[in-house]
Amino acid sequence: MAVTTAQLVDWLERYAGVIAEQKQYLTGLDAAIGDGDHGINMDRGFQTVLVKIEPVKNKDAGTLLKTTGMALVGSVGGAGGPLYGTFFLRAGAALDGKSDVSREDLVSALEAGLKGVVERGKANLKDKTMVDALTPAIARAKARVQEGASIGEALSSAAEAAETGMKGTIPLKALKGRASYLGDRSIGHQDPGATSSYYMLRTLSEALAEVPQGAKTATS
């Protein structure tokens, strides 16, 4: 019923895999409206995460995610490092000491992570950043859980919302981050950070898809 640390490890490994796979793609998105390093940075970061979480895979979920956050802060650099680093640090803090993570716990942790991202980066919705993927996704996860959906279902729904949010960055003019230097020339391009955030939600949903579900509820 509850999400285990092992599943979260699975998430991080899946996410690291997708980042490695999509490194050139993410970097290409960033080259168009930034400085062409987002994929490189995230890949360096998640390769570090894979090493750094090795000793804490059997610890509680909080320790796992805080270790992930520290690894990202110390290896990614750029905008992605503090933002994703803060996301995992805050999410980890919310799960401090927990080894069995309830649906509600997980959603709260994601919310705490997002709050950290917004505090750190001060981006508003529609500024064409990762916030545009994270915000609707986490709101959707919360709503679905409140409706009684399984965590797998809720996250699958959240990943869809993240994808929509990601695509929604295309017509936007960037107001934060490096892309904002481009002004109107940023319009028409998909934001790289929103893209990597979508991958984060998608891999989380994949990792939790096989979660044995507790109370079955109507899916709508």
Binding site: A31, G36, D37, V73, G77, G78, G85, L175, K176
Partner: protein, 342 residues
């Protein structure tokens, strides 16, 4: 990243994209053993002669690939430490925290941060860490790039050429005994009095990316380029150096604006792949424009001081001088890349 190194070797004097920054740091350590020492993991370049107790520490940092900035400016009368990130990527907070700790002589530390979201956030996290350990830390943000529209609602202007001049001026003041508040105020003034704009003829290649950051036709140039090859204001046809220099200089002049009678430092910077002879051609046109406008270039700096790997192009920076700024610009400096008076 092995795909890049093994498949096609880049036309670069490197061993691998992964090792470039550390290899270069080791080269710096060897060549400038009298001035600096280098620590690895986290990577920090620190002044060799420990600053005297009571001196404000000056720390900067940013992505690598802009050499000599910032590591080349560590030494007497300029920076106390510099934190090199991966190529074109802000360093991480552990680097700045270590640098801050290493150079804190009790009078506090000033962080010189270029206005990029990543740099700001990483320096902020570092400052939080350092303050957590009891250090006094201020930060000054440089944002002198007139190519970017300024606005309260955006990330604002990029920090470029003024950063170099600021590090020299404030470094001189710190060496002369300015306290943290006075040094911070001077730094803000220098940033407020400086403006820059750049252009590129060619793209650079980030080693880890393995290909040009932007495509540009043989008859085109990018006006208002950023120092990471970020697209600029406008893609236009190539023009004569005199016209390019006039576009850059007039845009800079009108922005502050610099006025008849002002004295300035005129800084003509090469982007890394442009030879010095061309920078002097540009300097000539900048000089002519300033003379025409009655602005006096009382000091000059011509060379490749804030670069973008092998990008060809240049930038023009003006910094309005007053007695305080001039005094500390002229003060002795002894670093790998700037040296006078000693």
């Amino acid at each position: 990243m092995a795909d890049v190194t093994t498949a096609t070797r880049l036309k670069k004097l490197i061993n691998s994209p992964e090792s470039e920054v550390k290899d270069a740091l080791a080269g710096m350590a060897a060549a400038h053993a009298d001035l600096i020492r280098v620590e690895y993991d986290p990577n920090v370049i620190i002044r060799k002669d420990p600053p005297k107790k009571g001196k404000v520490g000056l720390v900067s940092g940013g992505g690598s690939g802009h050499e000599p900035m910032h590591g080349g400016y560590v030494g007497l009368g300029m920076l106390d430490a510099a934190c090199p990130g991966a190529v074109f990527t802000s360093p991480t907070p552990d680097q700045m925290a270590r640098a801050t700790k290493a150079v804190d002589g009790g009078a506090g530390v000033l962080h010189v941060v270029k206005n990029y979201t990543g740099d700001i956030m990483n320096f902020e996290m570092a400052a939080e860490l350092a303050r957590g350990e009891g250090a006094k830390v201020n930060a000054v943000i440089t944002n002198d790039d007139v190519a970017v529209q300024d606005s309260l609602y955006t990330a604002g202007r990029r920090g470029v050429g003024v950063t170099v001049l600021l590090e020299k001026v404030v470094g001189g003041a710190a060496e002369a005994g300015y306290d943290l508040e006075k040094a911070t105020a001077l730094a803000k003034k220098v940033n407020a009095n400086g403006r820059s704009m750049g252009m590129a003829l060619t793209s650079c290649i980030v080693p880890a990316a393995g290909k040009v950051t932007f495509e540009i036709a043989d008859d085109e140039m990018e006006l208002g380029i950023g120092i990471h090859g970020e697209p600029g204001r406008e893609r236009t046809k190539l023009r004569a150096a005199d016209e390019i220099a006039e576009i850059l200089t007039s845009t800079v002049v009108k922005d502050l604006p610099y006025k008849r009678g002002d004295e300035v430092i005129a800084f003509v910077n090469g982007m890394g792949g442009t030879p010095l002879i061309e920078l002097y051609v540009v300097a000539n046109a900048v000089n002519r424009y300033l003379q025409k406008e009655g602005i006096k270039p009382a000091r000059w700096l011509v060379g490749s001081y804030i670069t973008s790997l092998e990008m060809a192009g240049c930038s023009v920076t003006l910094l309005k001088l007053d007695a305080e700024t001039t005094k500390f610009w002229d003060a002795p400096v002894h670093t790998p890349a700037l040296r006078w008076g000693v």
